[in-house]
Amino acid sequence: MASVEVTNLANELRKDFPIFADIRNSRPFYYLDSAASSQRPMSVLDTMDRYYRHSHANVHRGVYGLAEEATGIYEAARRHLGRFIGARDPAHEIVFTKNATEALNLVAQGLGRVLLKPESHILLTEMEHHANLVPWMILQEQIGFSIDYLPFDAEGLLVLENLDALLERADILGVTLMSNVLGTLNPVSMLSRKAHEHGALVVADGAQFVPHFQTDVDQLGVDCLAITGHKMLAPTGIGALWARSEILEAMQPFLGGGEMISDVRLDGFTPNEIPHKFEAGTPPIAEAAGWDAALDYLETVGMEAISNHDRALTSYAISQLQDRLDERIKIFGPSDITKRGGVLSFELADVHPHDVAQVLDQHGVCVRAGHHCAKPLMRELGVGATARASFYLYNDEADVDALVEALLDAYRMFHS
């Protein structure tokens, strides 16, 4: 039975995450907000600490041993992340950024600026996170072009009827691998194939997908992929853009400064080689070291074990919520469990999500309430906000059970 497996995985792993021990000692603590940000295992904290105690110096520009060591640590993290997502040229195809959002801004400004003309079209989906919407809107204000949108249906699945016609006029397709609200896993391999048939490049938002599923950029067929560290056990302050090296070569520099140049004269500059051409200033070095350790941790657990665990727990949660709350709860997103990741947005009848989250907090249950940085999606759903529970490798049935009990209490409180 899947759910038994689940419990074992989390029980074993939870002790690696100090926050559970520390907070649970003082109060109930059910962390169901990993889609916003995950917690960190000891090994990641230790790696960062060790970095600062033994190896810290600025990277790339130092001849002395310590600087070389720091550079080695930083570049090793880059190659590791590249391998983790199946990059062909891990040393050159990963650009470290501060988060996934910067990565998507980098694509919009670096690639969009080269590719798009006022008469161009790009195609996004109505379920994109603001991070894959607003950078394009900012560029649109600067250079003009049109944005088309792929809608989604009542099940939270993309409606692909007009796909060919929309791709036909698009230069870029921007799509999330997994919706942070609906949990929907989009059929990106197919979308990439179609996009390429029509000559469009594919910019994928991997912020939610990469932490939870084995990722292979080749198999996905995408051209760019944005990732963020803090949702996959790594520190805050670091994200990355992967893009095929030809794409990175074609892209314009975005942030200017040290490190990203090969030469600077009073009348202009020559950019550095990829990936350095996109990394201006001192990079997040300790954070890269921490991410490297997080990747080790994920690999040791195994990405397949993680996605199975997520799925089993999501399944359990859906059935518990429906059993115990029946028509008092509405769960958004695909009903087909194979089409969704471990993210559950829901509505409790006549209780605003904000109030849901507030009452749940009293029970030690942490869920997110709000528009989840996806306002166009919320408008499409016809709500101002949802409450969202999300799962990761350290969650288990006890978290779900606490969620259900707390929801029943919230319901009672607002219906007395």
Binding site: P353, H354, Q358, F414
Partner: protein
Amino acid sequence: MNDLDDLYREIILDHYKNPRNQGILEGPAVHAEEGFNPLCGDEVKIYVKIEGDIVTDIKITGQGCSISRSSASLMSQAIKGCSIEEVKALVSRFKRMIAVEEVQGEPEPVDLREFGELAALQGVVKFPVRIKCATLPWNTLMLALDGAQAG
């Protein structure tokens, strides 16, 4: 009374479930403004009708949590018939009551009796994130009054 009960007093739940002064206003003396809480997606639209310097009517639309909706509802009751000056004074006293300024140190003591039913909102003080919910309609009201005074 625990903090949560203090937040969700009966009067709050009542105004949430049965918000007063819902709807829209039209006409030349009407000024309307929209407000967003970027944190949670709450939206409110406030219509005020101003005759002379008196707020003779107020209506509200939008979506929001129990705090922002009850705050709007209580506000609408409190200000109808007041002069613009009186409303502005109330807005600033109200903000003081719920400790709106940077949460440094204890909120200044205020005499809760002067607030009538509005005092029920005082429970948000212990929930800093919810303070923005409570103030959203008040800030939006101020914008509408500014609009009215500007022309």
